[in-house]
């Protein structure tokens, strides 16, 4: 890493030491206060012969003439930028920090702040979650730079969400590994021996390159691994010395490996045939989809399969997999009637076909099944190819009859062909006979949902059905994208908005780490801005307050987003949890002076989210409590967003 003998006359470590002793301000500022004091105490005392020089004079005396670089040759971090630029990464949402200052400087000066463009973030978790949302709207990964140790610690929940949601992103962390030569004090607090250990359980791969050539290989490898289904986050830690020192061209000729996309794993042909045989023979096949449609083509393929089989499709919604306007779309209630269930990229197969009731004796929940004993189960999931041990995102174990460790979207074309081959005249006739009944069932469900939406339509706080339909009323003629819906609005968008395009719904956090919604929606809105789409989010109060500084990022970088708040003035999920426990124990819960159990509501005082957003450069209004005024307020906000600004409406809502 560090050539301590500094053959070319540039020894970073010696230079730093020398500078500190000479009292050079920048190097001193890098040290913690005690270290700086120590360095000064070591100076021999001397009597001033004249007034001490001021900072300007010192700077004029010690800085070389402007045109001379102090680094002999091209800095290592410039080469790193060359490597990164080959990967066509558009943005880098990051919070600045000295452990990657060299890369930062190379990016904005040498790299002209393009590919990637630096996006200023207030929190590392926000940067990662922005990358998370951006990928789901664009299909392209971003790179987030984080500070050594503490920045990475802040980033962790965002990385875990991305891991659980099978989203690729690249985290580059600074680190200064040379314990004998790195600055003492703060930079040493932020250095670690195995810095990526904290994220290793929920990244697909990580590395700590020790040479520039090693970095080039690791960066292209990291990108390749992240982008191979099942997608996932990767992390690279960059030694400060490696970033800061010049390339030693006389020692090695550097090259940049070419990125070649990996073709995703497809289901084994025998397993595909067996699945097709079961599906064709079934009288009531049900397809359950969670993360099938990695791309818009996944939706097209799933429609083709469903129509061939006239199979019901339950879209669990981690992506937009299947149009809710299609007559084969069904709620989860379709599962108990199935004789074959095809689970595709399910994050929880057990939970799909079983029940768990949180109301048992002694506080232990009760398990039950949703299935008939004869129901056959087929699973196609790439998650089986990426199971780690520690964190339990793999969920409970479910035995299935046909088990394919493969990417579902990639397997669909061969499954469709296999279904066509397995089809007989009789089966085709029996399947065709299901169409009319299926259309009627779909229409009946739609009518029931519309009736359910009318209950409490005029209530204040505003019902979640009204909230969602007032939003839809104002965006329906735009090319809209619901980038996030945080908190729980009783799933009204999926129940009532016609959703038939892949980008109209981007799914949830993946790991249920709350705080995803605000940054992920802004990241997705950044992608949608460039793609000419209108972004809307349903923004809950609890989610926003984990890291609200990301609102500033949206204003700063002119990211248009309509954020309509589902402000139920609580971490409402937890209101119900604590009430439930009190009921189990036959105790009246202590509400204090609030509406729900102490510690679960966000009131006294109420937060003025509209003022919070306004203070960070958003157009914002609220609190809207009267449903009759909501439509006009949203209309105004939509116009603002269409002019290129973010807008927030603080709406007081019913709890669910």
């Amino acid at each position: 890493m560090t050539d301590l003998n500094g053959k070319d006359g540039y020894d970073r470590r010696k230079f730093l030491t020398g500078a500190a002793v000479a009292g050079v301000t920048p190097a001193l500022a890098q040290m913690g206060a005690p270290a700086a004091a120590q360095a000064q105490a070591a100076k021999p005392p001397h009597a001033p012969s004249a007034l001490p020089p001021n900072a300007k004079t010192i700077a004029a005396e010690i800085h070389p003439p402007e045109e001379l670089s102090r680094v002999g040759g091209k800095p290592g971090s410039d080469f790193m930028i060359d490597v990164i630029k080959t990967l066509d990464i558009k943005y880098s949402p990051s919070n600045c920090a000295s452990s990657f200052r060299a890369l930062h400087e190379s990016l904005i000066d040498y790299g002209e702040n393009k590919s990637p463009e630096y996006i200023s973030c207030m929190h590392e978790e926000s940067g990662v979650a922005m990358a998370h949302g951006y990928f789901k709207a664009s299909g392209k990964p971003l790179l987030t730079m984080v500070h050594g140790t503490v920045g990475l610690q802040h980033a962790t929940m965002g990385i875990y969400n991305a891991f659980c949601d099978r989203v690729p992103l690249i985290v580059i962390g600074g680190n200064d590994m040379d314990a004998a030569h790195r600055p003492p004090g703060v930079p040493t607090f932020h250095a670690a021996q195995d810095i990526n250990a904290i994220v290793r359980d929920y990244t697909k791969w990580d590395d700590t390159p020790v040479s520039l050539q090693h970095f080039a290989q690791s960066m292209v490898r990291a990108y390749t691994i992240a982008m191979t289904p099942p997608y996932g986050p990767v992390a690279i830690s960059l030694d400060a010395g490696l970033q800061q020192e010049p390339i030693k061209e006389h020692l090695e000729k550097l090259y940049i490996p070419r990125y070649v996309p990996t073709s995703p794993p497809q289901g084994d042909s025998n397993a595909v045939k067996e699945a097709a045989r079961l599906l064709v023979a079934a009288d009531n096949p049900v397809i359950v989809a969670d993360r099938v449609a990695r791309t818009p083509n996944g939706v097209t393929l799933l429609i083709e399969l469903a129509e061939l089989l006239q199979a019901s499709v339950v879209d669990q919604g981690s992506r937009m997999n299947f149009p809710n306007t299609h007559y084969l779309n069904r709620p989860a209630g379709a599962i108990p009637n199935a004789d074959v269930v095809l689970g595709m990229e399910l994050s929880d197969f057990w939970g799909t076909v079983n029940t768990y009731t949180d109301n048992g004796e002694d506080g232990v929940g009760v398990n039950g099944t949703r299935l008939k004993p004869t129901t056959k189960l087929i699973s196609i999931t790439s998650i089986d190819l990426l199971t780690k041990s520690n964190y339990q995102d793999f969920q409970r174990f479910q035995t299935v009859d046909v088990h394919m460790g493969a990417d579902a979207e990639t397997t669909l074309p061969s499954l469709i062909e296999a279904v066509k081959s397995a089809m007989t005249k009789d089966r085709a006739a029996a399947i065709e006979a299901r169409v009319e009944k299926a259309k009627k069932a779909h229409a009946d469900i739609r009518a029931r949902e519309l009736h359910a939406a009318t209950v409490g339509w005029d209530s204040s706080p505003i019902s979640t059905a009204r909230l969602c339909m007032e939003i839809y009323g104002q965006i329906k003629d735009l090319d809209w994208s619901l980038v996030a819906s945080e908190g729980n609005v009783s799933n009204w968008p999926a129940r009532l908005w016609p959703i038939d395009k892949h980008h109209q719904w981007l799914g949830r956090s993946g790991g249920y780490g709350v705080g995803y919604g605000a940054p992920a929606s802004i990241g997705a809105a950044l992608a949608n801005r460039d793609l000419g789409r209108f972004s809307v989010s349903i923004q809950s109060d609890g989610d926003l307050m984990f890291a609200p500084g990301v609102l500033w990022t949206a204003a700063r970088h002119k990211i248009p987003l309509l954020a309509v708040m589902h402000n139920n003035r609580a971490w409402h999920q937890e209101v119900m949890h604590v009430q439930r426990l009190a009921n189990f124990r036959n105790r009246v819960p202590n509400y204090g002076a609030d509406r729900g159990p102490i510690g679960t509501t966000i009131e006294n005082p109420d937060i003025e989210y509209h003022k919070l957003a306004e203070s960070m450069g958003w157009w914002a209004r609220g609190p809207v409590k009267d449903p009759a005024q909501l439509g006009a307020a949203i209309k105004e906000a939509v116009a603002v967003v269409r002019s290129g600004q973010p807008a927030l409406l603080n709406v007081w809502t019913q709890p669910r």
Partner: protein
């Protein structure tokens, strides 16, 4: 809803204990619905949602509601008499019964499409 099956059988024997029914007040019920926590899962107006069924204008008799609320072993946690008196429940029932008839979706432009 496992409990609903046995409701009819048990209901008769419970009639005696529900004394508040005659004097029940929808206004007191509105307050009790909030103070006892029903709003959390059923919404302030009993409109229902992701965590609880619609209760507004329930078609169940008060006796059935009583049996259910006290004994449910399904997704709703049970409420004992210590947590919710018979009088409160009767008031809540009056409040839920007094909810307005919802409009036909065809008459609401946002739901008519």
């Amino acid at each position: 809803m496992r409990y609903m099956g046995m409701i009819a059988a048990v209901a008769a024997s419970l009639l005696v204990s529900i004394t508040g029914a005659c004097a029940a007040s929808a206004e007191k019920g509105r307050v009790a619905f909030r103070e006892k926590g029903c709003w959390q899962c059923h919404g302030y107006e009993g409109q229902g949602g992701a965590n609880g069924l619609t209760l507004a204008r329930t078609q169940l008799p008060l006796e059935a509601v009583d049996v259910f609320v006290r004994n449910t072993d399904g997704p709703m946690p049970p409420f004992s008499k210590k947590m919710l008196s018979d009088e409160d429940l009767a008031d809540i029932y009056a409040f839920l019964s007094a909810q307005p008839v919802p409009a036909d979706p065809k008459t609401i432009p946002l739901l008519a499409h």
